[in-house]
Amino acid sequence: MSLATSSGAVADLITVARRALRSLLREPEALVPALVVPMFFYAVNIGALQDVAESFGARFGDPDFDFKAFQLPVAIIFAVTGVSRASVVVTDIQSGYLDKLLVTPVRRASLLLGMMVADFALVFGLSLLVSIVGFLVGVRFESGPLGLLAFLLMSSAWGLAFTGFPYTIALRTGNPAAVNSSFIIFFPFAFLTSSFLPAEALTSWLRAISTWNPVTYLLAGLRSLITEGWVAEDLLKAMAAIVVIGAITFTLAFTSLNSRVSTG
């Protein structure tokens, strides 16, 4: 008589997440680009644009405009967007390990959710590290320590919401090159918005596009926690942006998972 029993969805999720976190800790080098790239852009953007942007702020009635604080959410979004364990999914597909997992009684959704738990832990850590850099260059939170926590959670939630894209590509294609190219999806989100200058300073066509870009509202919400305190409208819009993107990408990812594990 077999010793096997059904372990339950939560237990499956924890088991898969433990594996994902273990492998994450064993390849810290994979995190280097996610940290170096945003730090680099943060430094370069401040070096190139701080004086111009702050004088622009003074001209338009905001003499306290702080470009370092303005740029910190951008650095964080660059750090956390597109970071996922999707490459592990591809490796599992190609090596056949996914099939080995699929012949166990594991809940299929747990295979993806477990990875996402590890992703959330990772992007939270990345957000924290970038925030520390922000502190080191003098950025302070008007919303206080709780505001910092909200800032980190919202940044991580955005990172998690975006993981649906690389997972979708991984599950649809099983191709590592396609997954590596998935960062291109982030380009319009990252640059067709108020990444470098306030919306008022954008040209009319870019400003029009940015109103349709969820990152615009995410950045506004994150910036409000730093420079203004607790602004309900900005925070609600930021959370709505995260929920909308998450709903789209998770739907795509779990549909792709169903398709991948379908036995038909």
Binding site: S2, L3, S7, G8, G96, Y97, V103
Partner: protein, 319 residues
């Protein structure tokens, strides 16, 4: 109750028929060898029995449970070691086993005890705490086998367990399969393209070619059906006249041709050799080589299909 039953089991991939109406019955405690060349339908059949693929037609049960309508229950009762021992190379062997055990609902000291038990069985030593990426092919196979045994499955599927292994590792896997069956009474469904593997391990053998079962029985029964002795003649020219002439010789039970080989089955091979050579000489034919031996499963396969098994990497349609 039989451990595995299939009735008219079929699977298509588009227009291609990979498995075509397979009927099987594997008894509890049996080692069943599923023998066939590349692309014969072995792996596709196993993937259907393991719930990884839905049949296009027919039905299959494992442990009395339908592999489609009771797939979750089937998964609790089976262990599977698929081709090429696919494992996560960034984990240690012990972590792989721990994860596998947890997915089967095992926890705490019970899981630790089972891991120790299967490790004793597969004899991998201290390497179990090293990352899988540092293992040899044989060690990966053994960890894969151990992981498929953790939950004491009632039926174990081994899909080409020795393909790609060196002779020493292959012998070790054979020994483990025998011990599993003898000591734990696990029903084993073993696919292979190696005739000697099926011959050495299986209680019964099903031979599959082009998606169809072409012969089934114990290895001895199958070989006996070919004849007591086999004479293999290597000859440049084989035609219907030669086959007809040889078929009429006294003591000859069957004649088949494959490539440049004429395979003559006989009750007493030694008494037929002389007449065979005289017949060929009379037709102006000369043998390049002539061998008298007892039949092998390869002869059974040739007899049933008209061609020999060629070993190599399995290339069946995969999703």
């Amino acid at each position: 109750m039989p451990a595995i039953v299939t009735e008219n089991l079929s699977r298509r991939f588009g227009d291609e028929v990979a498995v075509d109406g397979v009927d099987l019955k594997v008894e509890t405690g049996e080692i069943y060898g599923f023998l066939g060349p590349n692309g014969a339908g072995k792996t596709t059949t196993v993937r259907m029995l393991c719930t990884l693929l839905t049949p296009s037609g027919g039905r299959a049960t494992v442990g009395g449970l339908d592999v489609v309508t009771a797939a979750d229950e089937v998964r609790l009762r089976i262990g599977v070691a698929l081709q090429e021992a696919s494992l996560d190379e960034k984990q240690t062997g012990r972590e792989i086993l721990d994860l596998q055990g947890r997915l089967y609902g095992m926890r705490g000291s019970a899981l630790t005890a089972r891991i120790d038990a299967v490790l004793e069985f597969v004899e991998i030593g201290d390497a179990i705490d090293r990352r899988v990426g540092t293992y040899s092919g044989g060690m990966k196979r053994r960890v894969d086998l151990a992981s498929s045994l953790l939950h004491e499955p009632e039926v174990l599927f081994l899909d080409e367990p020795t393909t790609g292994l060196d002779p020493v590792s292959r012998a070790a896997v054979w020994e483990e399969v025998r011990r599993l069956n003898d000591d734990l009474d696990v029903t084993i469904f073993l696919t292979t393209q190696y005739l000697e593997e099926a011959d050495a391990l299986a209680d019964r053998v099903g031979i599959i070619d082009a998606g169809r079962i072409v012969a089934e029985g114990t290895p001895e029964e199958l070989k006996r059906a070919v004849g007591n002795d086999v004479i293999v003649v290597n000859i440049d020219q084989i035609d219907d006249d030669l086959i007809s002439a040889v078929s009429t010789l006294d003591g000859v039970t069957d004649v088949s041709a494959g490539g440049a080989e004429l395979v003559v089955s006989a009750i007493d091979g030694a008494s037929v050799v002389n007449d065979l050579v005289v017949t060929m000489n009379g037709m102006g034919l000369r043998a390049n080589a002539l061998t008298l031996r007892t039949p092998t499963l390869d002869d059974v396969f040739l007899n049933a299909t008209g061609h020999r098994i060629v070993s190599g990497a399995e290339r069946e349609p995969q999703r």
